[in-house]
Symmetry: C2
Subunit: 420 residues, 2 copies
């Protein structure tokens, strides 16, 4: 990569190379792409020493800079984590190729043959935070879906990401694909990210993966079309007609099975009719599991419950905390969710068909679950095989995004000299 020119020029140059690579990649067969993915996986494992050495430098630099242990842990790789990256690439090789799928087809009244066919976007930009495994995951998903990728990772993982991408590029070339199917965005700091966000016409789609702040900044600053992912202020609503044993199990699972993920529950709503029966069970159970309950006045009647503000109701804690409120009826629960939800995942626990139907229809989120934990909103759980993120926007893709969501379409129309 050249170091001459401004950051904008260098990013534009990289995007131009990505576009050329994308043209070749769009025409590559599944066999070629899968061979490249398997070669990448083998190369990552074979050269894991180089990756771990680069990672050790990143970790040492982060520790020297006084980075918190939690973030350092996200950054740190070991042999198992490198193996997991390779396994991810092999899994993507095993998935069907979305490119070329015919979504619609018909012969029009005039004899024209119409086909709507999946095609790659072209060039995809990914902006993400610390975890270096995203580098290999995103590159694999983009390659399989026929897209060249521009990766903009955290600067704290720069050496690691660089080592991983070099290995992936070499494996691509050895498999007959251009090296530039995967590139790190050149340049450091916010300027480089900003240049990527402004590369409209060069970059087809931008996907931010990370915390709410990162996503907000990309959505606001980007002129490249963005797919917003990930922020999950997920609700569990326990209806008047809920099986309370089931409700207790779902609330505990949704809140505590894994707290740092976007499909963990952050808010609990309970129908007033079952509050007296359910609150004495759910509050101690949550507290036993280490959860701080931020409750409305009804919840505050229970030991250890702290008062909930509107901010609490709007917060994605990603921690052992939950906001909680009693609602007078189903529509009040729906109203609360419409007001505070980030549109990711909401669950109802109910034995009532009518309540389930109303909740499913009126809640406007990417996933609505009936009698199941919010933790199921996940590409792997849904059987999509690989996931680039969970879209919380309504345009293009909504919910877990697998390989098909990383494509556009093209209409192919065949005639015999047809004119109007």
């Amino acid at each position: 990569m050249s170091n001459a020119g401004t950051v904008e020029e260098r990013v534009a140059e990289a995007a131009g190379r990505a576009r050329v690579a994308a043209t070749d990649l769009a025409l590559a067969t599944r066999a070629v792409k899968d061979a490249a993915l398997l070669a990448m996986a083998d190369a990552l494992v074979g050269q894991s020493a180089a990756v771990l050495a680069a990672n050790a430098e990143d970790v040492a630099a982060a520790e020297a800079a006084g980075t918190g242990e939690h973030l350092v842990d996200r950054l740190r790789l070991d042999h198992d984590r490198v193996e997991a990256m390779a396994r991810g690439l092999r899994e993507v090789a095993g998935l069907p190729d979305p490119v070329g799928e015919v979504l619609r087809g018909s012969t029009l009244a005039n004899g024209l043959e119409l086909r709507q066919v999946r095609v790659p976007f072209g060039v995809v930009g990914i902006i993400y935070e610390a975890r270096p495994n995203v580098t290999a995951d995103a590159a694999g998903i983009c390659l399989k879906s026929g897209n060249a990728v521009l990766l903009r990772g955290s600067s704290s993982a720069r050496r690691t990401n660089s080592a991983v991408v070099e290995i992936l590029r070499d494996a691509a070339v050895a498999s007959g694909l251009p090296a530039d199917v995967a590139q790190l965005v050149p340049g450091e700091g916010h300027e480089a990210a900003k240049a990527l966000m402004r590369a409209r016409g060069l970059v087809d789609v931008l996907i931010p993966r990370g915390g709410a702040g990162l996503i907000r900044s990309v959505v606001t600053e980007s002129t490249v079309p963005v797919i917003e992912t990930g922020v999950g202020n997920c609700h569990v609503y326990v209806d008047a007609e809920a099986d309370l044993d089931m409700a207790l199990a779902i609330v505990l699972n949704a809140k505590t099975q894994r707290t740092s993920v976007c499909n963990a529950a952050e808010s609990l709503l309970v129908h007033a009719d079952v509050a007296d029966a359910f609150l004495p069970r759910v509050v101690p159970a949550l507290q036993q599991a280490g959860v701080t309950v931020h409750g409305d006045p009804t919840f505050q009647a229970y030991d250890g419950v702290v008062p909930a503000t509107d901010d609490d109701h709007a917060t994605e804690y990603l921690a052992l905390e939950i906001s909680a409120a009693v609602v007078p009826d189903l529509d009040a629960a729906i109203g609360h969710i419409r007001r505070f939800s980030s549109g990711h995942t909401e669950a109802i626990v109910t034995g009532s068909q009518a309540a389930a139907r109303r909740f499913v229809a009126a809640v406007d989120s990417a996933a609505v679950l009936v009698n199941a934990s919010t933790r199921f909103t996940d590409g792997g759980e849904f059987g999509f095989g690989a996931e680039i993120g969970i879209s919380t926007q309504k345009l293009h893709a909504r919910g877990p995004m697998g390989l098909p969501e990383m494509t556009s379409t093209k209409f192919v129309v065949t005639g015999a000299g047809h004119t109007r």
Copy 2:
């Protein structure tokens, strides 16, 4: 509508009312929506005198302001044009309801039932230029797809649009739907349009319909997700193995059947092997039809051909003009198209299966046609029944957008107390 507050506040207030209406509309059955569309059609015809009176004022004001006759003609309504607007609404009523369609469904290994279901976006903003028929067309398509619409028409059509929207709103109310399923954006001038573009979170999708300048400004300024439509610098490529009679018919049809539309051809490329045979036929035929040919040096050997610049190759004339060039081979044609096309529609005329296959795979446009006129890229021609525009972007929808393209999706997951 209130006239208090800043333009931003008034637009936000209107969007808030649209959101409330959208919540009701999302739950409305097809029967209710179709009844409202038919009532709207009847009301437009029944009250056409009021529409025509308002339109006469707009036309008089435009003429007094010295507006060109072409624009005044686009603005002018007559009884037939009002009838056509009503007919459009009735046709939309006859189309299937996209809302509720199940796109995917499966039972996961753990017994969870997964369904991906079409749902409305919510609130759609449409920014469009003079033609007042868009007001009824867009309102009808949005209503049928379950979306509340904020309409921002040209200020020159303000009185007409106002009269039309009032009639549509009254008919909605008479059919049991909220009036605010359709609203004009309050306020005048660019400030009101800008407020609509900045209403992220209140407006789900913005669709600009109009010239290249309007679309560019919306794409650049909007923080609301945009679906880019319409600019068509469409190419016809005449291959070495083309049937030249067929090629001539397709070129003439694509260029001259209707010049002011986005799927008209704007550029002609001819393989060098057939240049000597085809140029002496196509140049006079185009000129006979009144077309000015902007040609490369080979074309300039023919009488009346004026020199083509890169600007010509990049121009969407929307007039009796065409840029033209001879290319050494198929890949040069593909390269030219990749460089200059707006990604709308390109056609190849060829008898070669290999050339057709390569062209279809390598040309990256919304529609690629083989042995057919570019004029077929159209929702009506494709059998979609109604069209809100032709998307030239890759995200969400690409090509003619019918009712299904005006929806998002939602995952509905049903369990029996499932936890992870």
